[in-house]
Symmetry: C2
Subunit: 205 residues, 2 copies
Amino acid sequence: MNTKTSKSYHHGNLREALLEAAEVELIEKGVEKFSLRGVAKRAGVSHAAPAPHFGDVTGLLSALASVSFKRFADAMQSSSDAVTEDHPDKAKAKLVAIGMGYIKYASEHSDMFDLQFSSERTDPSKAFLNKLSSNSYQILEDHVQAVLALDNRALKDNPDAAPMLWATTHGLASLFARRKRNGGPQGQELQDAFERILWRTANAI
Amino acid sequence: MNTKTSKSYHHGNLREALLEAAEVELIEKGVEKFSLRGVAKRAGVSHAAPAPHFGDVTGLLSALASVSFKRFADAMQSSSDAVTEDHPDKAKAKLVAIGMGYIKYASEHSDMFDLQFSSERTDPSKAFLNKLSSNSYQILEDHVQAVLALDNRALKDNPDAAPMLWATTHGLASLFARRKRNGGPQGQELQDAFERILWRTANAI
DNA sequence: CGAGAAATCTTTACACTGTCAAGTTAAATC
DNA sequence: GATTTAACTTGACAGTGTAAAGATTTCTCG
């Protein structure tokens, strides 16, 4: 009875339907004009139907941010997994790939990405959000550790390495997402520049 | 008649008064709960009074973002000017100081900083915003150029240098501002880490 | 100087928002 | 199968942004 689509009084799986509707609403309207009533209308339910599942609009957007965090981590992981060639710089190539996956996700799903880091419409005290956020960071930190291990170095002796990579990647991603929204250039040479910068940063840790 | 405070029908300098009220509103309510009617109430005028000066709420927030961009650039510039010691790494020290000024502004005025980079409530097509944004970038680029000049290198032969610094700095600033809002740690050791990361990045250009 | 024009500001109105409270209907439980 | 519980609808309310029309002041120019 989880996947039924009959128009009974009880929806059956309204929670998932609302999350999907919310994503469409977010993409079409943007974070700012996002409307809870609009989501309910898309899902074909009354404007107060979301309340039992998500409480208020912050609850719904926090849940949606959690969906995005999962996809975000998956995108980084699979971007790393795609590096299969076995050359001496494989560890660094994976680290760079993670950064490029980060940037790609931010630019292709800029609304969802914004939601992840938008503290206003999302509840930062929600434990699952912090957990998912640190999961994403963990993936990057693991790869930094692998790079450090090439020179027999350890994370604890190089506490700045992972934050530096994270900051540079996040900076590139958010500035690029912003530029893209504002109609700025976004050609391949920009992607190449990002990759060069990530390589240089990876070499600097 | 620009500074009169009489309670005549015409305010005299309502535009500036609204900007000041808007800043207070932004700080107290946040970007999300920012209300145009709230601003008007703070300024002691009717809720439709802002319209002749700013149009809609986006116009007011864009103007406020422009104020913030100016202060932002000033903060970076004076942070650089504060480096007066004449040692061999002065150019790099100035570059790092700019980054620290960037981070300091973002953390001390996180709402105004958010506004600068919030594309939703601000109109990105406003020319003055792009101009002010590139002015801030210009300050950093000039300092990168000075650092490159130490080794007789030029900006055009090192097109990634300035973007790399910008991205790392912006990433540190926005992640730190976010952490601060969410009640995370913000001690001096964190500032020290930022400075080390900026030094390392400056050395990598 | 003074009348018409233009700008500023207020008032009123409207559609829209999020959320609460009270009903209605279906499912779950015992 | 009755009752409790959850899901959902309906109705209401305060608050929002903005458009239109009216009131008041300043500006412009003859």
